[in-house]
């Protein structure tokens, strides 16, 4: 740990820290561009100069390129360093268009900040400025090359960090161009990070273009709700509209990056059909009446039909606190414990995931640091996109990735792929956990696992189910030893799937609830930010059950199918409008705070024109309330989040850290369960002959919140069906052919796509919400199906 002196202050930093970072530790920020904490130092901008007065190097040096060493004495304020840095800014500004007034970066522009910080104010150069033509980079990013300062950060972000190959740097000398080969949408699902990483206004957020000035935004640190990883985000809102999301920084999870689903999935918050007023049978009613009605109706039904006629349904979308209060409500009503999740398979897999001891749970930081990653039934880009980026970093550091999956799992890095049937995955994991020998095709995997120092086993709850998940955790425990840790990670469907599963404990699941509904025993159903109509795979039985209800109450902020059927609709706030806690897939609790208050976006109320001239004392559309607050009222508890958290922490010892949680910071792991992990049993699988249909998550089409976000419309895939080339050959199907898929009752005509990088005998359809493929739900065992050619391409 070297100690050095910078501007007469002493600082001790870890080995390998550069002097620019060391200065930052002292709160001294020296202007810089090409250095970025996530991208490292490359010494290109030559701005971060300091004067090295004593120590192993002397003279003026670029501080980002000098490793901090004992005995260094450094000045950031030496006149020659200050003058030089001003000169660099003058150079960078030679060709700059000075169009800050119309630049979206204005106010949050590192070039503005560094220009002011460097003291440069007069440009002596009066020659011609170099100008560029811009490119169309697709729906997410606007390009304005004239503002470029050639710091190369975008290339390093896009190519090196994110693994994209379609954006880069062209030309040489002063005629550099940062862009694509030709106009066209950026291919990487992490392209949006260019917006955050470009220090100037070259690459700005296209959907957000000319919407607000940075300083007018309401921003607060938050957590991404679009998958179970829980990346740190900073949503920004103005005029009651959520206008954009940028990446926060959680070193344990996402670092400084987020995926494009997380960045552009926000618009569900502004959805014009979003429920905004309490409705009883479609009629607006005041909140107090709505809550009273709910309690009255439930009490009445209990009086007539007994307390087991009431069912409460929580979800992985709702916060931990709201889900918990649903439990309190059930206790108060004397009804059965709530069911968590409208999909029993997913619920059970999530419950299995919660049994992993905390010390064996892998964070994304652990993944980045791993030397061997084994993916079994996990498709990161679809089920937790930032995991894909974390894996890429592991590979960049020399790590190895092995994929066992029936699907053609693609990652932005080199991988070794082994096509496996879903059943084979279970066999593999249970063999690993029991220390049994593996089939020869998996031998390379065994060898790699033996050699690895920091292996991480990653599984997807959807494909593995509860059984496979249990086997995965047991395998990690088996492979974990004194000498080297073997960690595990399970991808879950929703941002708080883990939290909901934790509360579910040994409670009933949705299958039981369905049976009870079908039997007519259930008279009232209360849904908390849950939509069984889209999430329950057994649609038929559900519809029958719903018909037998006397009362359906729905708390939600999405214009969901079930909300449309509700007798009583209770509009809730979206994540960015409220506070609460989510538990991500590794068991990390993360608190979030409100970013803004709900209300009809001005854009909608005024059709984008001047604000309406009819005035009222209330804000239009401001009625949605935080679900936990509504539930607290229903339970007659004080509307006090801190109190609720304290109570929850005493109820559930694994949540002990909850009351101390801050909305900033990197969150806190829950405590390990005191039960030992359950052991999987050896699995015997039967041979199957028929084609097996597997529904799978996709990057943009499956997650329910982002499915309601218009900025993602241009990138949502069209329905298709994926077949192995061998199967296609046998069936006389060519790529692009229209085929008929028959599975159970359902028949659909879809275009066929082919791959040779998948398990043969498996047919894959993407789970695409709001399309005809919506009813094919992931998280189910595969089902037999038939595929026939209808017509050629």
């Amino acid at each position: 740990m070297p100690t050095l002196i910078i501007d007469n202050q002493s600082v001790t930093v870890p080995e390998g820290t550069n002097v620019l970072e060391a200065a930052q530790q002292l709160g001294i920020v020296v202007p810089h561009f090409c250095y970025h904490e996530a991208l490292g130092a490359v010494g290109a901008c030559r701005l971060c100069a300091m004067l090295f007065i004593d120590g192993p190097v002397k003279g003026m040096q670029m501080s980002c390129m000098v490793e901090a060493k004992d005995g260094m004495v450094v000045s950031t304020e030496a006149p020659e360093a200050v003058a030089y840095r001003g000169q660099v800014i003058e150079w960078l500004m030679l060709n700059h268009p000075h169009d800050c007034p119309v630049c979206d970066e204005g106010g949050e522009c590192q070039l503005q900040d560094m220009t002011v910080a460097s003291g440069h104010s007069v440009r002596r150069y009066t020659g011609k400025k170099r100008t560029y033509l811009n490119q169309d980079l697709g729906p997410f990013i606007h390009h304005e090359m004239n503002r470029c300062i050639q710091c190369y950060r975008c290339v390093r972000t896009y190519q090196d960090y994110c693994g994209g190959t379609d954006y880069g740097v062209l030309g040489s000398n002063q005629r550099l161009y940062f862009g694509r080969f030709q106009d066209g949408p950026l291919e990487s699902p992490f392209a949006g990070n260019l917006i955050d990483l470009c220090p100037t206004g070259v690459l700005t957020n296209k959907p957000y273009r000319f919407t607000s000035r940075f300083w007018d935004l309401q921003e607060a640190p938050s957590v991404c709700p679009h998958c179970s990883l829980g990346c740190a985000t900073i949503p920004g809102a103005r005029f009651r509209e959520l206008q954009r999301v940028r990446s926060g920084n959680n070193p344990e999870i996402n670092g400084c990056f987020i995926c494009d689903r997380g960045r552009f999935g926000y618009d569900y918050v502004n959805h014009s059909d979003r429920p905004r007023t309490p409705l009883l049978h479609g009629e607006e009613i005041p909140w107090n009446e709505a809550l009273e009605t709910l309690l009255q109706r439930l009490t009445k039904l209990i009086e007539c039909h007994g307390s087991d006629s009431i069912a409460l349904l929580g979800s992985g979308r709702a916060s931990l606190e709201a889900n918990y209060l649903l439990q309190r409500l059930s206790e108060q009503l004397g009804s059965a414990a709530p069911v968590y999740g409208s999909h029993a398979g997913r619920d059970r897999a999530a419950r299995a995931a919660t049994t992993l001891p905390t010390e064996l749970s892998a964070s994304l930081a652990d993944v980045r640091n791993s030397d061997l990653i084994l993916l079994t039934g996990a498709d990161p880009l679809a089920e937790g996109p930032m995991l894909a980026l974390a894996i890429r970093q592991a590979v960049r550091n020399g790590g190895r990735v092995m994929i066992c999956d029936p699907r053609p799992v693609e990652l932005p890095c080199s991988t070794e792929y082994l096509a496996c049937q879903p059943q084979e995955l279970l066999q593999l994991l249970s063999a690993l956990s029991l220390g049994e020998t593996l089939p020869t095709k998996l031998q390379p995997l065994v060898e790699a696992l033996q050699l690895a120092q920091r292996p991480v086993l990653i599984g997807g709850g959807d494909l593995l189910g509860a059984e496979g998940t249990t086997a995965l955790l047991a395998a990690a425990q088996k492979l974990n030893s004194e000498d080297r840790s073997c960690l595990a990670m399970v991808l879950l469907p929703e941002a708080n799937s883990f939290g909901a599963a934790l509360l579910a404990a040994d409670g009933p699941d949705f299958e039981q609830l369905l049976a009870d509904m079908a039997s007519g025993r259930i008279k009232a159903l209360v849904c908390l930010e849950a939509d069984p109509l889209t999430d329950c795979p057994d649609r038929q039985q559900l519809l029958q059950g719903l018909e037998q209800l006397d009362f359906l109450a729905v708390f939600d902020h999405l214009p969901s199918l079930i909300a449309a059927k509700a007798d009583l609709l209770l509009p809730t706030t979206a994540l960015a409008e409220g506070a609460g806690t989510l538990i991500n897939n590794e068991g990390r609790m993360q608190a979030f705070a409100p970013v803004f208050s709900p209300g009809q976006p001005l854009r909608i109320t005024s059709q984008g024109n001047h604000p309406p001239r009819s005035f009222s004392t209330t804000t239009p559309g401001a009625l949605p309330c935080q679900a936990w607050a509504l539930l607290a009222k229903l339970c007659d508890l004080p509307v006090d989040l801190a109190k609720i958290r304290r109570e929850l922490a005493t109820q559930e010892p694994r949540l002990a850290g909850l009351p101390d949680l801050l909305a900033e910071g990197s969150g806190q792991r829950i405590q390990s369960a005191d039960k030992p992990l359950s052991q999987p049993h050896a699995l015997i699988t039967e041979q199957v002959d028929a084609l097996q249909l597997l529904a799978c998550e996709t990057l943009y089409g499956s997650e329910v919140l982002s499915a309601h976000s218009s900025p993602l419309d241009p990138v949502r895939p069209q329905p298709y069906l994926l077949l192995h080339e061998l199967d296609a050959d046998r069936l006389g199907i060519a790529a692009g052919d229209l085929v008929r898929l028959s599975a159970g009752e359902i028949q659909l005509t879809l275009p066929a796509q082919l791959s040779d990088r998948m398990a043969a005998g498996v047919v894959i359809v993407p789970h695409l919400r709001r399309t005809e493929l919506e009813s094919f739900y992931p998280g189910q065992p595969s089902q037999p199906c038939r595929v026939e050619k209808v017509s050629a391409l």
């Binding site: 000169q87 660099v88 740097v169 040489s172 002063q174």
Partner: protein, 429 residues
């Protein structure tokens, strides 16, 4: 006078294998493989005092001593044949005349350094050199002097020629490695030095064509003999000097290291053309600060030239007559460097164009005293601040201009026009 590199050189003639061998070619290699240990060759090269001929003048023996020759795995020898510094054409002359010297030099160097693969990085425009090398390599392979089990020994060496599309920055050794790997030829940061992490991230030795071509002669004649060839105390060997600019006779000559500028100009260059006077010169290519008539007795060797604040560089002497405007000449040079900047770092990419702009202003008579001060300021800010040595070299002429021709610069400001007849470089931008 001893001629080593040019001893077989005749106009419009390329030496083939037979002729090369008749005149002692490949004897050094035979001797080495027969009776010399690699370490002996390394020691000999170190003792010879040979310094790199590519421009930086780093001691070849010392460079080799950093090379982990006993490290396992692939290691590479790369020959730098980019040669794009204006005023430099010695490597071309050498390859056009006697290409086997380079092949033999590389085999010997590879043997000394325990390397089995070599690359010659050659600019595309040198087609004649490429053809010569191809033929030399084929001949050498045929004769068992290159390839597997050279001359029946257990030493093998493969040699490839890589052609570059040509950019001055490709001559910078780490940019060259990127170029060779098919990447954008931006320089890499050092450390790690190529000796540790070079081509394909493996240990790599890089040397200039002329440097490598000297190795057979050192092995043949011995370190002491080589060292004694120089006219200066600390110098060693001979040097291929370029003669260009306002001279009566231009060309490339091999002379003992350390001849004086005056001798080069008068005896070998036939004096300044059109009976004019010597005003200034670039002693060793475009990146070396000027010298004036006061320096005609300075020896063309590394140390003496450094003593007068310039460098031997590539040894390409470019002479300017007394009608030359030094502002215009400097502007021409700066335009070259600005255009050849790779675009990686700010002082070079944006600083050099700004220098061009100030020089244009001064040359066109629009300059002010402040502009001259700005030029001086830019010199201070660019020198030593860039990522690689290109911008440092680029400022050599500006440094010379402000040190030796300040009055001429100020005269432009005072008169509001260029005071000299040859000022026309402006009209082509």
């Amino acid at each position: 006078m001893s001629q080593l590199l040019f001893k077989n050189r005749r106009p419009n003639h390329t030496v083939l294998l037979d002729e090369y061998r008749q005149n002692g070619g490949y004897q050094g290699l035979e001797k080495a493989l027969r009776e010399l240990q690699p370490a002996q060759i390394r020691d000999e090269v170190k003792a010879s005092g040979l310094r790199g001929r590519g421009g930086a003048g780093f001691s070849t023996g010392l460079k080799w001593s950093f090379f982990p020759f006993d490290a396992p795995g692939d290691k590479y020898l790369v020959c730098n044949g980019d040669e794009m510094e204006p005023g430099t054409f010695k490597d071309r002359a050498l390859l056009e005349a006697d290409p086997h010297q380079l092949v033999e030099g590389m085999v010997l160097s590879a043997y000394a350094l325990n390397i089995t693969t070599g690359y010659i990085f050659l600019r595309y425009a040198y087609d004649q050199c490429y053809a010569n090398l191809q033929r030399a390599i084929a001949e050498a392979k045929q004769a068992g002097l290159l390839g597997r089990n050279i001359l029946g020994s257990d030493f093998s060496f493969e040699l490839h020629v890589h052609r570059s599309a040509g950019r001055y920055i490709c001559g910078e050794e780490t940019a060259l490695l990127n170029g060779l790997e098919g990447k954008r030829p931006n320089p890499r940061s050092k450390p790690p030095f190529p000796a540790i992490k070079g081509l394909f991230a493996k240990p790599t030795v890089l040397n200039n064509i002329e440097t490598l071509a000297n190795i057979p002669h050192i092995v043949n004649g011995g370190a002491q003999w080589f060292s004694d060839l120089a006219l200066t105390e600390e110098g060693a060997g001979t040097k291929l000097y370029g003669l260009a600019g306002h001279l009566n006779n231009r060309g490339c000559v091999e002379l003992p290291m350390g001849v004086t500028i005056g001798e080069l100009v008068e005896e070998h260059g036939g004096g300044v053309w059109q009976g004019r006077k010597f005003k200034a010169c670039l002693p060793g290519g475009a990146s070396t600060p000027y010298l004036t008539a006061a320096h005609l007795d300075v020896a063309m060797d590394y140390v003496p030239l450094e003593a007068v604040k310039t460098r031997l560089g590539t040894g390409g002497l470019v002479v300017f007559d007394d009608q030359t405007c030094m502002v215009a000449a400097t502007l021409n040079l700066m335009r070259f460097f600005a255009r050849e900047s790779c675009g990686w770092c700010t002082p070079c990419r944006d600083g050099l164009p700004m220098v061009c702009w100030v020089l244009e202003k001064i040359e066109s008579g629009q300059g002010t005293v402040d502009d001259v001060a700005m030029l001086r300021e830019l010199l201070g800010h660019i020198n030593g601040r860039s990522f690689c040595a290109l911008a440092l070299g680029a400022m050599g002429p500006v440094d010379g201009l402000l040190r030796l021709f300040e009055e001429e610069v100020l005269d432009h400001v005072k008169k509001g026009r260029c005071p000299l007849p040859r000022n026309s470089s402006l009209k082509e931008s």
